[in-house]
């Protein structure tokens, strides 16, 4: 037990000082990208993990967050809202769209809801691509505004505002870290609130929840809105660092990647989601390419990166069959999801044992 807590503290300390240890900018860059995906996973966790609404088109909100930044903080329209303000704006715009795109799904059952969200996941990026006058079509919007901060925070010896460097991902790293911390705080507070319990109720049995007095409309819409707002934040940081937004970054594969992160780490469990997200980013960004390099070095003509989708598929199938609660489960979810694999009678017994508010 003690070892567990100390290693956690050690890990947190490592995370905080990592950019000062590793001077290779592309590593820090990779971590910022991974961090953006952690934010996305936290947001999707609210929709899928907490409220049980299977959203297969989450990339649409990522696109909305990114394009909001691109259109309001770039030379595109000559509007230059500061980065820090855009964080709020984009989160709000994404939340609004969460409500707009979630509204049609209110009366739908689980699988139909999934398909509608999938439909939106296709409609939104295609629309951004087609409206070339506003979005530059396939060329995307480039030279996005860079955030600025007082000099002493960026290593400069003065208090004047400096722009974040192009080749220095470290400031973005700390911004992302702060956003993740904020996200974790928000998500765990929500989980243990009345709204969180309402989400749990509609996740388990929507009809019963409605009859107990829960306003399912408000509950569902708030799940969509809050979940989408996270992707607004992720979109701003990701695009600002990349300095460009392009419509082919928001394909279905992104939605599935984030869903796989959730399934791998543990739906409904905040820390599980973070671990699952980072693990998958790591496998994707390091393990697969390095394994390919290793294979090439010993003369094998294998390319592991071509097996990427195989990996996602295997994770989804394998986890659902054998460990649906994820690597780091919440007890509540494990009980719910394991009904399938147990006798009906035993399952009924498990479910009557209510253990209080779910712990992360």
């Amino acid at each position: 037990m003690q070892a567990g807590r100390y290693s956690t503290y050690a890990l947190l300390a490592l995370v905080l000082i990592f950019p000062l240890l590793d001077r290779n900018n592309s590593h820090v860059d990779f971590l910022v990208n991974a961090g953006a995906f952690i934010l996305l996973a936290l947001g999707l966790n609210i929709v899928v993990g907490f409220a049980g609404l299977l959203d297969l088109g989450y990339a649409a909100f990522f696109a909305i967050g990114s394009y909001s930044y691109a259109m309001l903080a770039s030379p595109q329209f000559g509007i230059h809202v500061p980065f820090w303000v855009m964080l709020f704006f984009a989160a709000s715009i994404a939340a609004l769209f969460g409500i707009l795109l979630g509204a049609p799904t209110l009366r739908l059952r689980g699988d139909y809801l999934a398909i509608v969200t999938l439909g939106f996941g296709e409609i939104v990026p295609q629309t951004f691509l087609n409206l070339g006058q506003w979005t530059n079509g396939p060329n995307g919007i480039s030279s996005l505004d860079r955030p600025s901060a007082p000099g002493f925070l960026l290593g400069a010896p003065d208090w004047k505002l400096h722009l974040f460097g192009l080749n220095d991902a470290t400031p973005y790293y700390y911004v992302t870290l702060a956003l993740i911390a904020l996200g974790v705080l928000l998500a765990s507070n929500l989980q243990n609130s009345r709204l969180g319990r309402a989400w749990m109720a509609i996740r388990e049995d929507e009809l019963a929840a409605r009859h107990v007095g829960i306003n399912t409309t408000v509950t569902k819409l708030s799940a969509f809105a809050l979940g989408a707002s996270f992707s607004g934040l992720a979109g701003v940081v990701y695009s600002a660092k990349l300095n460009l937004v392009s419509p082919d970054e928001f394909q279905f594969s992104v939605s599935i990647l984030v869903l796989s992160m959730l399934v791998l780490g543990g739906m409904g469990n905040i820390w599980g989601v973070i671990v699952g997200s980072f693990l998958l980013s790591f496998v994707n960004g390091f393990l697969l390419p390095q394994s390919t390099n290793l294979a090439h070095a010993v003369g094998l003509n294998l390319d592991f990166t071509n097996y990427r989708f195989f990996l996602y598929g295997a994770i989804l199938v394998g986890m659902m069959l054998f460990r649906p609660e994820g690597l780091i489960p919440s007890r509540q979810r494990r009980a719910e999801l394991r009904v399938a694999l147990a006798d009906a009678g035993v399952a009924a017994q498990e479910q009557t044992e209510y253990e209080g508010p779910p712990r992360t």
Partner: protein, 305 residues
Amino acid sequence: MDILLQQLVNGLSLGGIYALIALGYTMVYGIIELINFAHGDVYTLGTFFSLAVLLGLGVTGEVHGLTLVWVVLLTVVAAMLLCGVVGVLIERFAYRRLRNAPRLAPLITAIGVSFILENAMQLWRGPSPVAFPAVIPNPTLHLGGVEIAAKQILVIVLAVVMMAGLQLFIHRTRMGKAMRATAQDRDAAQLMGININTTIALTFLIGSALAGAAGFVSGVYYQSTWFFNGFEAGLKGFTAAVLGGIGNVAGAMLGGFLIGLVEAFATQFIPQGAQWTNVVVFSVLVLVLVFRPSGLLGEALPEKV
């Protein structure tokens, strides 16, 4: 007027492919209420299997006469059989354990299976589109100002024939009755002595075999195939099934043709319509699910408590 008729033909033949895919979707959903995401990829697999058989037979272009008949028969039967087996295996190993799980689980699993199949096909024939032999001669008929290719007629006729065949099977045979019973109430059917596992496996067999046939037709019609075809075709096939009324076989065919027509007319009449076809089709999906989830020919099912 000619353009309208021509686009009608285009839409119906495009829709015929969707109809064939929708038939399989609707069957599986009707029986276990699962959207088999992998269905679109089984359809592509059908094209790949057909290609393998044709290449094995040495067919690279058009074939004529008696050779044509037995080449087509052999290929179609092989594709249907192989796809049927794949479908049964998927059900057995990926879906069966999750029959009583919350809806989320089998849906996610289905997505996973879809990805695995797509990747397998990518590794089989590479990431670029692959050419498919013409096989069937394709004379063009000129009716008035409208040009109809023989293959377009083939697709439309096949969709209708398959639908009719399926209807006959479901309504006139014992196995079909077992399927209908299982779809209506699984536990009661079991109590009546119906072997649920076999019935569901048979449903997957037939649904996937239909997808295999659709794959062969698609390969012959477009003379090209690609590992990623199944994703979109599957999605549109599902849209068609929903539009027609999920669980309703005639509805699936109707939905397929309608979606094809929607695409063709959207291309023709919307300025720069070719880039908006997907948006239109998926908007149709959303609208149908929101305003009439039971579809055109389906009945509004009460939610069982």
